[in-house]
Amino acid sequence: MHNAESRTPAASVSAVATEVQTSPLERLKTGYLKFKENYVKDQNLVSSLAEGQAPPYMIIACCDSRVDPCTVLNLPPGEAFVLRNIGNMVPAYSAQSACSSAASAIEYAVLHLKVKHLVVMGHSRCGAVKALMGIEDDGSNRFSEFIEDWVLILKNASKKVKSIHKVAPFAEQCTACEKEVVNASLWNCLSYPFVREKMASGDLTLHGGYYDFVSNAFESWTLDLSCLNDVDKVQ
């Protein structure tokens, strides 16, 4: 299984990186064969996963290469149904959300897989949040075809942070926004009727998470409908 003991140490990673330059697919082949060697040791797991999946968690995380949730939280195959997009953002429920990757994934996880926990996981040094925070109100510094349109789904998070942390340095504002984006995404999850129904029946809990790879810490908090500030830090 993909656990701390089986990870490649840094020296090997740089050797492997050289290999990527000459043979990118060889790198993947080596990784896959190692996974397979470990995976087939648990035949019960292999057979049960071949038939179906029953993950207790749905995790919404960023595409950032540094924050793979299954790696950081050591989740083996079958544990977490994972949606990843830039900025770990969830748009609000809307009849116009047809063809939404987030809405369809949440619906499938909550109603069909019947996950027990929905986690939105933000992280430090998020490029998508930085882009959101950097957008001028008049759109005069637009730099992309799609990136701004995507991150602006949570423009209220950036507005809120800018008004609360008016004089803070930009980097600190971004950190605040990374956490605000998690809460805003959780709030948007709540806007889906099927999420609210499952929460009301006690079948689903919503959680926020924040992975800080600068200080090597992971904060998590449960969405308490009476108070959204119950934060538990793992130092």
Binding site: C63, A103, R196
Partner: protein, 236 residues
């Protein structure tokens, strides 16, 4: 769409009904796992100091949200190696300015233009629930079962048509299912190419597109390349 006032009332009702405290802390397992990860993080200080500054993944991987197919686990990738987009059935819709599908497009644009990835791989997999739902969809929509899932998965409708034409009618469903997953990967690869910021580096040889099929039933991982080449002009 719910008004803010309605939402507030509903939330108050929920907080009375739900009694949020869980009997067993669901994060206990994750906390322990993160402690292990923290130890690994401390050990690999050089690697993580570099990653804290910036990421330079060579790969972008597009994979299904299915809990059995995490690409970092399956391909033994270290943190920092792959920028990963995940959605139901690893679908990429075609380039369209009017489209509401910005999650895939924005991720690809960021990966190619800003991170300068050299490879994009789209991974399909065995027993994909999204593709199964696609194959079972009736044309008249009479068996519609969801609010959003069918609208999302119908992006792969052309792949369903190709697979149904390719696979003999009397074949077992598993064969049609497998074929449709692979055709859906090919469709998403072609849709990727419809983005100018993908097509241009591909034509210059700076970006390679790969398809893949992870079969966790039989224990196999197949890969293939999408080739795009404009031949030298020839005078008639």
């Amino acid at each position: 769409m719910e008004s803010v006032d309605n939402m507030q009332e509903k939330l108050e009702e929920l907080s009375l009904e739900a009694n949020v405290a869980c009997p067993v802390d669901p994060f206990e397992k994750m906390r322990k796992a993160f402690e292990e990860f923290k130890a690994y993080f401390k050990k690999e200080k050089e690697l993580f100091d570099a990653l804290a500054q910036s990421q330079h993944p060579k790969w972008m991987i597009i994979a299904c949200s299915d809990s059995r197919v995490d690409p970092a686990l399956v391909l033994g990738l270290e943190l920092g190696e792959a920028f990963i987009l995940r959605n139901i059935a690893s679908l990429i819709p075609p380039h369209s300015k009017q489209s509401g599908h910005k999650s895939g497009a924005s991720a690809i644009e960021y990966a190619v233009e800003h991170l300068k990835v050299e490879h994009i791989m789209i991974v399909g997999h065995s027993r994909c629930g999204g593709i199964k739902a696609l194959l079972e969809m009736k044309e008249d929509g009479s068996n519609r079962f969801s609010e959003y899932i069918e609208d999302w998965i119908q992006i792969a409708q052309p792949a369903s048509e190709i697979a149904k034409a390719k696979v003999p009618h009397d074949s077992p469903f598993e064969e049609l299912w497998t074929c449709c997953v692979k055709e859906s990967v090919n469709l998403s690869l072609r849709n990727c190419m419809s983005y100018p910021f993908v097509k241009i580096p591909m034509e210059k040889g700076l970006l390679t597109l790969h398809g893949a099929y992870f079969d966790f039933v039989n224990g196999a991982f197949d890969v293939w390349k999408l080739k795009c080449k404009i031949d030298e002009h020839q005078s008639l």
